[in-house]
Symmetry: C2
Subunit: 453 residues, 2 copies
């Protein structure tokens, strides 16, 4: 009965076996192994395979499993696979798919294929799909499912129980039933646990939780995730502007959003997209990353241009050229720490107008303190190494100035970017290092010119 | 009935009002506002306040709410608050707390206070606490709650229903009841939805899902989170080595772990700790960040030492000093992109021995392609700017070499670190930039020495 500690390792091992079979061309064995693998493991195998292997694996998988596996895949990988499927196979795979996944798959298709797939679907699926497609993909409407179980307020618990037993099965992750009036407007909800613990003679209207917030269909998915986290929901109803019940959102979809949101900052800070596929083809990856390198080349050239202002002193003292990178580098590190904390704080909603001044003061104080520590240390190191206490004093001053600038920029840059509605995680790092590079070089070479030139 | 789109903004606005009242010294008004604020909003207010305001707010909060608010706080902020509470107040606050939160609070206390709090607790809470404390805090045992509802296999659904109605209420997020044998060993589970849809004359043993994996109490919480994500669980039973049911883990605690895990890489890459508090006191923050600056100073000095090997050529041509930062900077950026993708891939379990060679090949190809593009471009820029096609050729060669090194190091550094069980997110960036700095400087100044010296 006890879960093997190695549930995950076991999966990895089995995936490895499939891989080995594929490499040695034992397709029959690989097909058999794939049939025995649960959908989530096949998805993991596809995610961790280069493009060519993905195509081979997909052809070996049982078509009945296609839908379930597609649901488990990340958006980027899913898209690359559905682009290669025949419309009628795709239509078959989408049968019984959750509404949100169905809509996502359809959105990724070129228009003629899309029309063809829609035509091959059965009537009910087509209606579901068209409804979901009428909402933006990152709104509550785009991520909801339509598998709600609804009750009328004027029946007894006993009647509800008989109705449910007749139904025989409830959709996955059903923890609540929704109460609607004659116009299909959402008026309250009844938890399954409540249904099981109250007197069966009572009316639904009497035991339901009224005044529950329905999630508006056009609410952004990030806000949906925040609502789930604040209220510890397992599922929640989605309503339109007039309060009609449209569907429900379940925690498993919200967990995906939370993970994506949390990873977004890290990926953006390296100039990568959220759905970046580690195993994408070389050309595609190169194209995406080139833009980021272009932006950074401009900032590197800017720093070089600043250095070139001090060509005179640089040509007089090679030691300055050697030490010129230390102060900008330390400023970049200190600034990135502040920036990372502020970006996280913004994502968590901790940073408000009322505490931002305190925060700037705090980061300046840290900059001053760290500046003092590292100024003394670097002065000593440089004075001993280069046998010049004057250069030591110059680098100490520059270090102090740059760590202060780093603290200030680390807080203000993301705040300003947010004001102008630019993603701080994407643009913050580049702007910050530009500031610390320029300030660092100016402070070091400028002071050197004044004192030694 | 419709959720206000502004649920979050509304909270922020109310928090702002409390803040304004505190700033203007209207403590009576602030206290009244705080009493009307739900626990999650008070927690948000505390998280986004400087240390001094936190103490004031905490004193204005209704002590009956203390427990619930403590549960909502992040670990770092929670710790700072409980350290200032009197033992008997703390004992009162912990009454009715979830077992995992209770254990966490107790773990954060100095030993004498801990003993005192334990003494002031009622018998049942003390037992729960001692049980939870016997497990490591990041294991399944440390995050579980003991509020399970158990059934015997040999009773009918009808009997279960009567038992539940007698009980009158189920613990929050209960979606399943657990079936245990006479020895309290976990033998299966019954979903509430199943209970509601089957014939009431059937036996529990007949309708339960047998062969369910119980989570071993000593399983690491990261693995627990992965199990929840793989299986889309809302709750899951925890068992000891003999299969005895100990408690259960619910999705709301797992969501916190998933968020922390996802943020871990971003924070580590900036040398920050997972529970870093944006509003921690200056001295504490300075101390933590100093270590990271120290590590980076060593790498900056190393780069300077490499440059100093080429002092001759630097003193002959100041232009080399000016351009010396461009190649290392581009290498650092390109390498960080690869590193970030590999770290994310490792966290998601996508990177295995069987695909790592393919990945190295891919990143080398991207490095070569990007190297070619930026080598040509930088050669043209530098040749025009500095009126020297020779310097252009030199920097082009160095760029090419360094972008290849960046691609190679971006994949191999995190893999090697993982092999030696060092966190790639923490140490990867420093090692990577050391590689790209050293290779960049060597390639640029070394080639310059050969061709121009």
């Amino acid at each position: 009965m006890i879960a093997e500690v190695s549930d995950k390792e076991y999966a990895i091992q089995r995936i490895q076996e499939v891989n080995d079979a594929l490499v040695s061309g034992m397709y029959v064995a690989a097909r058999r192994m794939l049939h025995n693998l649960p959908a989530c493991d096949v998805a993991l195998l596809l995610e961790s395979s280069p493009p060519k292997s993905r195509a081979v694996i997909w052809q070996l998988v049982d078509p009945d499993e296609h839908g379930e596996i597609l649901e488990e895949l990340s958006e980027e990988v899913q898209k690359s696979i559905i682009r290669q499927m025949a419309p009628e196979k795709l239509a078959a795979a989408t049968e019984g798919m959750d509404t949100d996944d169905l809509a996502y798959v359809l959105r990724g298709l070129p228009d003629p294929v899309y029309q063809e797939v829609l035509k091959s679907m059965d009537e009910q699926d087509r209606q579901r799909a068209e409804m979901a497609l009428s909402y933006d993909e990152d709104t509550a409407g785009g991520i909801m499912n339509t598998d709600t179980v609804t009750l009328r307020p004027d029946v007894t618990v006993d009647v509800v129980m008989r109705y449910l037993r007749l139904k025989g099965q409830l959709p996955e992750a059903t923890d609540k039933l929704y109460v609607v009036n004659r116009d299909d407007q959402f008026i309250g909800e009844v938890a399954l646990s409540r249904l099981l613990t109250v007197d069966t003679a009572r009316l639904v209207s009497d035991i339901m939780t009224p005044d529950v917030q329905g999630i508006p269909a056009d609410l952004d998915e990030t806000e949906v995730a925040k609502l789930f986290e604040r209220h510890d929901w397992v599922s929640a109803p989605v309503v339109d502007n007039e309060g009609h019940l449209l569907g429900r959102i379940t925690i498993d979809d919200v967990v995906d959003i939370i993970r994506e949101e949390a990873q977004h900052s890290m990926l953006s800070m390296a100039g990568l997209e959220d759905d970046e596929d580690t195993f994408a083809p070389v050309l595609k990856s190169t194209r995406r990353r080139t833009i980021w390198l272009a932006v950074n080349l401009v900032t590197a050239l800017l720093a070089a241009a600043v250095s070139s202002l001090f060509e005179d002193i640089l040509s007089q003292m090679a030691v300055l050229a050697i030490l010129n990178t230390i102060v900008p580098s330390m400023g970049g590190i200190a600034g990135s720490q502040t920036l990372t904390l502020v970006i996280r704080g913004m994502a968590l909603g901790h940073i408000t107008p009322s505490n931002s001044r305190w925060l700037i003061g705090k980061e300046l104080a840290i900059g001053a303190l760290n500046g003092l520590i590292w100024a003394c240390l670097i002065a000593a190191v440089v004075a001993l190494w280069q046998q010049s206490w004057m250069v030591g004093v110059i680098i100490a001053f520059a270090m102090m100035a740059n760590l202060l600038a780093a603290g200030l920029a680390g807080v203000t840059v993301p705040m300003l970017l947010k004001k102008f509605e630019i993603d701080p995680a994407l643009a913050g790092g580049v702007i910050l290092t530009t500031v610390t590079d320029v300030v660092g070089i100016f402070a070091f070479l400028g002071t050197a010119t004044l004192l030694l030139g």
